[in-house]
């Protein structure tokens, strides 16, 4: 197993990809907040990721689905409160994941310095 192929590295990579996609999808939802007939999109990868990690792999692809929440009169179901909360939540999760990856790199760096 290579240095950066460990389950945790791959899982963190999948998490970063999924969170970045979610951030983009939230941007799309907010951009379409007044578009008649637009249904909000949701990104899911967490459940799959935890199952993958249990199986001993960490690679998952995030899935995008339309939200089935009730729509407004114009057929749009974007809720600004939900999107704002998700946006902040995703941002913090992303920062957490980047810190975890940086932590792994710093362990490797420590190993490289030891002689």
């Amino acid at each position: 197993m290579g240095m950066f192929d460990s389950v945790s590295s791959v899982a963190l990579n999948s998490a970063l990809d999924g969170l970045a996609l979610r951030q983009r999808v939230i941007a799309n939802n907010v951009a379409n907040i007044q578009t008649p007939g637009y249904q909000a999109q949701r990104v899911s990868f967490e459940d799959e990721l935890s199952q993958a990690v249990t199986r001993g792999s960490g690679a998952v692809t995030a899935q995008v689905a339309r939200s089935l929440e009730p729509t407004r009169e114009d057929g749009n179901n974007v809720n600004l409160d939900t999107e704002t909360l998700l946006n902040v939540d995703t941002n913090l999760r992303y920062q957490l994941a980047t810190q975890a990856i940086s932590g792994q790199f710093s362990s490797v760096r420590t190993a490289l310095r030891t002689s």
Partner: protein, 130 residues
């Protein structure tokens, strides 16, 4: 997907909402634009938003114009008045325009907030390995 995609998507939202603001302010500016009865009244503009393909954001699908009929007002002193003393005013509903103004403004602010948060996220990504 380009690098920093979320900022690009939010900027399409900013653009659409700014165009909406432009249309509303144009409508409000022309709320008292008088025309002769032989001409069309000033037609109010509605911005029609449309989702872009592949989650690329939002775009203006087109501008729909309101009624050319307007409303006839009796103003015999007006140099544009016809023989009966009528001129044509645009049929713009002030309260609807003000509501739209606030909706467009809030939509713009929401998209600007998304840009801010996306910027934070990407800044965190740039710190990996530091």
């Amino acid at each position: 997907m380009t690098i920093f995609g979320a900022i690009g998507v939010a900027s399409t939202g900013l653009t659409v909402h700014r165009k909406w603001l432009d249309a509303v302010s144009d409508n409000l500016a022309n709320v008292s634009t008088v025309r002769a009865t032989s001409e069309d009244a000033f037609r109010q503009k509605y911005v029609v938003a449309q989702e872009m393909a592949d989650g690329g954001g939002v775009q203006v699908a087109g501008i729909v114009e309101g009624s050319a009929e307007g409303r006839l007002v009796y103003e015999p002193d007006n140099p544009l008045a016809d023989e009966q003393g009528y001129v044509r005013y645009p049929d713009i509903d002030m309260s609807s325009q003000m509501t739209q103004l606030i909706m467009a403004q809030r939509g713009y602010q929401a998209n600007a907030a998304v840009v801010d948060r996306a910027k934070e996220t990407y800044a965190a990504a740039l710190q990996i390995g530091r």
